[in-house]
């Protein structure tokens, strides 16, 4: 939900299917100099994608059928890793955590819409200052963000619990208590991605022609009705875009868990860790801490299937609620 969001942005934006007019499709048959130029121009990006994305994915797919020695070298073990995977409690727990995190993370979307709507009010003073403030967490290093939140959440010396103690509440050990850890992480995740989502929604809102609202006002529609009948439907492409990104980002959550929850030995000693370990963190743990690379590859392939499936479902469902232009 943090670093991954910006990374995935371009891919998804290009992946949103623009309606292809029939006339365009016909022109594709005329392969000629124009097409060659086209291919030439996308070649650098295409090559980069193939070398740095596609090839590793294929390799990981292959490695998921192998077992690795402690210092590299691998042998084919067929479906063994997938068999272990199906019966592994840790995988199940981390999957459950990831899904919980993803669902809770979606709460950030209405929040972002709300803030965007407030920031979009025509006569708001200091609007650019607010926008900068909200966007600040997005451009801050995720690790720095996580470190600072770790201190804020400290059960004995953190600022949050200090403030709570002023009103007589004894706060928990936010990220070491199994009952609160997941929610504490979700809060940080929403906080970091809020600014980015607000910008997308703001852009979406500003693209809606003023005349619609004027017409609605003349017809007697109140602010709420205008928001529900005009803003929301016309914002739906942005909503769709942000929800796809949010889901993918949440499913790939790693950095927050790594810095705030711990890794390796420190993660083992954190009583809340089983409640916050995500699939990607588990993958990292298996690949680099316990050095079970083949098994780690199998875990990440399972995650790939999950992400592709969920994204496909989202694209299917969008036809029912997303209105383009």
């Amino acid at each position: 939900m943090t670093a991954t969001v910006t990374g995935a942005a371009d891919d998804v934006r290009t992946a949103v299917p623009a309606p292809v007019p029939a006339r365009r499709r016909r022109r594709w048959r005329h392969r000629g100099a124009e097409a060659a130029w086209g291919y030439l121009l996308i070649a650098p990006t295409g090559l980069g994608l193939a070398v740095f994305y596609l090839w590793p994915v294929l390799q990981t797919g292959y490695f998921s059928f192998t077992e690795w020695g402690p210092f590299g070298g691998h042998e084919w073990v067929g479906l063994d890793n997938y068999r272990t995977l199906a019966a592994d409690d840790e995988v199940l727990t981390s999957l459950r955590n990831t899904v919980a995190y993803t669902l809770l993370g979606l709460l950030g979307i209405p929040l972002a819409v709300l803030f965007a709507a407030l920031l979009n009010r025509p006569r708001l003073r200091g609007v650019s200052a607010y926008r900068a403030l909200f966007f600040l967490p997005v451009v801050t290093m995720p690790v720095a963000v996580a470190m600072v939140w770790r201190w804020l959440y400290n059960g004995d010396y953190g600022l949050i619990n200090y403030l709570l103690s002023l009103v007589g509440v004894e706060g928990p050990h936010w990220i070491a208590d199994p009952a609160t850890a997941l929610y504490a992480l979700v809060a940080v995740g929403i906080w970091t991605s809020l600014g980015y989502n607000i910008v997308i929604f703001l852009a979406g809102m500003q693209a809606i022609p003023r005349e619609y609202y004027e017409a609605a006002a003349i017809d007697g529609a109140g602010a709420l009705a205008q928001f529900r009948r005009i803003t929301l439907p016309l914002l739906s492409p942005s909503l769709f875009f942000v929800s796809v990104l949010s889901v993918i980002g949440s499913l790939q959550l790693f950095d927050l868990v790594y810095v705030m929850g711990g890794s390796g030995q420190s993660a083992r000693a954190n009583p809340a860790f089983p409640r916050i370990q995500t699939v990607v963190h588990l993958f990292y743990d298996k690949a680099f801490y316990t050095n079970d690379r083949g098994y780690a590859a199998a875990i990440v392939m399972a995650l790939l299937v999950l992400i592709v499936t969920l994204t496909a479902i989202q694209f299917r469902l969008q036809k029912r609620w997303v209105h383009y232009g």
């Binding site: 210092f71 590299g72 010396y157 390796g264 420190s266 083992r268 000693a269 809340a272 680099f288 801490y289």
Partner: protein, 420 residues
């Protein structure tokens, strides 16, 4: 982009040439006109200055060899090292410890040094035998001992005085420790007697051996965690947490015991001789803390361990790397180390260490050698170490009983040992 590729290709070519060049002269001593930079990986930031000083002393004698000391914090050291080895980018020379030596030697990652030791007619009896044995695998020596460490109790005199408790001293027992712990704890103020850190070397390994138990059988084939005496050694710590004489795991996850001790929240800190540099520099601990031996249980015991310097099997400059490791294991290097670092392994250089840390009772750690127990290891120590943390966390939080956790741990550990 193309420029980058061309520069990259040139670098690869240059590296290839360097390999060929190094390959030609591999059996001869360092070619004198060849400039070489060796990477030297370490994990203790407190020791970076002294390692750099030793490296500078070496470069003075060997002007063509420069040493690049690379710090990777302990938490990531082994993860990064394994990844580097797998990717063919291991440092030329690096720190090795007991739990990892056999795995690295067994997989041919580090270079056996026995032939070179014979050629150079080095005398290995200048190091404690336990350490040479630790770094000997299948009859070959893989590392030259650098330092050694034992474990003791660091205590905060101010907190002891405030609670009117006698300072720990030679001959104190588990009963004394528990009585003191009860008086020193004041959970309402956030002050505890000790932090039951979930760590073997400084914590439960010591009490396990003090209780007459063991972590692993002498032949390294069988887990000792199902031994009732071992369970008593673990209960020592879980009882402290239960009685609120130690913070719970939640608190220690948020704030590490070392930080708690350094801010006056823990009266005692079980730590190593290596803590002298940290406690000597820290403004708070500098004047307030001192060291005492570990309390005696059924018997007296402390874990002894030491690091060694090893050479990567794939280094491009094996002759130079060996020269450096030889120097690191020599008396001049040990003399520098003793003044500013941990206890040097080279016999006879320990007095410098005592003198350099005179503000603490450093002799506690040297005396402990007489009853010390070697750090328990097997061929793939890391595998069952990980299982220790997973199972014991549940006992420390009180989720399961100590007996149940230890039993499960023994089962898992035996399964892992059978695979070695």
């Amino acid at each position: 982009m193309w420029k980058a590729v061309r520069v990259g290709a040139a670098a690869v070519l240059a590296a290839a040439l360097a390999v060929t060049a190094a390959g030609c002269g591999s059996d001869e001593p360092a070619a004198s006109d060849e400039k070489v930079t060796l990477s030297y990986a370490v994990w203790d930031k407190n020791q970076v200055p002294v390692m750099e000083e030793i490296a500078a002393a070496f470069t003075k004698d060997h002007p063509n060899i420069t040493i690049n000391v690379q710090l990777t914090p302990w938490a990531d050291y082994w993860t990064k090292l394994r990844a580097a080895v797998t990717g063919g980018a291991a440092p030329d020379v690096f720190w090795m410890n007991g739990p990892n030596i056999q795995l690295y030697a067994d997989n041919g990652v580090i270079m056996p040094l026995s032939d070179k030791i014979d050629q150079a007619k080095l005398d290995l009896t200048v190091y404690p035998k336990a350490l040479v044995d630790l770094y000997t695998f299948e009859g070959k020596v893989y590392g030259l001992p650098k330092d050694f460490d034992t474990v003791g109790v660091w205590y905060n005199k101010e907190l002891f005085d405030a609670a009117a408790v006698k300072y720990p001293a030679d001959g104190w027992t588990w009963a004394d420790f528990k009585a003191a712990a009860a008086k020193l704890s004041n959970p309402a103020k956030g002050v505890y007697a000790v932090g039951a850190n979930l760590a073997g070397q400084e914590y439960y390994y010591n009490t396990i051996y003090q209780a007459g138990g063991n972590v692993i059988s002498a032949d390294g084939k069988k887990s000792g965690f199902d031994d009732p005496a071992t369970v008593e050694g673990l209960r020592f710590w879980t009882d402290l947490i239960k009685n609120k004489q130690s913070p719970d795991l939640k608190t220690m996850t948020d704030t590490a015991p070392l930080q708690l001790f350094e801010s006056g929240k823990l009266a005692m800190y079980w730590g190593g001789s290596w803590n002298v540099s940290e406690f000597g520099k820290n403004e708070y601990t500098k004047t307030r803390v001192d060291a005492a031996p570990l309390p005696t249980g059924v018997k007296q015991a402390t874990i002894i361990h030491g690091l060694a310097n090893v050479v990567s099997a794939k280094t491009k400059a094996p002759a130079q790397a060996w020269e450096f490791v030889k120097f690191l294991g020599s008396k001049p290097a040990a003399d520098i180390l003793g003044k500013k670092g941990p206890i040097p392994a080279y016999t006879g250089t320990q007095d410098a260490w005592l003198a350099a840390n005179a503000q603490f009772k450093g002799k506690v750690f040297l005396d402990a050698v007489s009853y010390a127990v070697p750090y328990p290891v097997s061929r793939n120590t890391a595998a069952w170490n990980d299982e220790e943390f997973k199972q014991l966390t549940k006992a420390y939080t009180g989720e399961v009983t100590v007996e149940a956790a230890a039993k499960e741990l023994a089962t898992q550990m035996n399964a892992l040992l059978a695979k070695e």
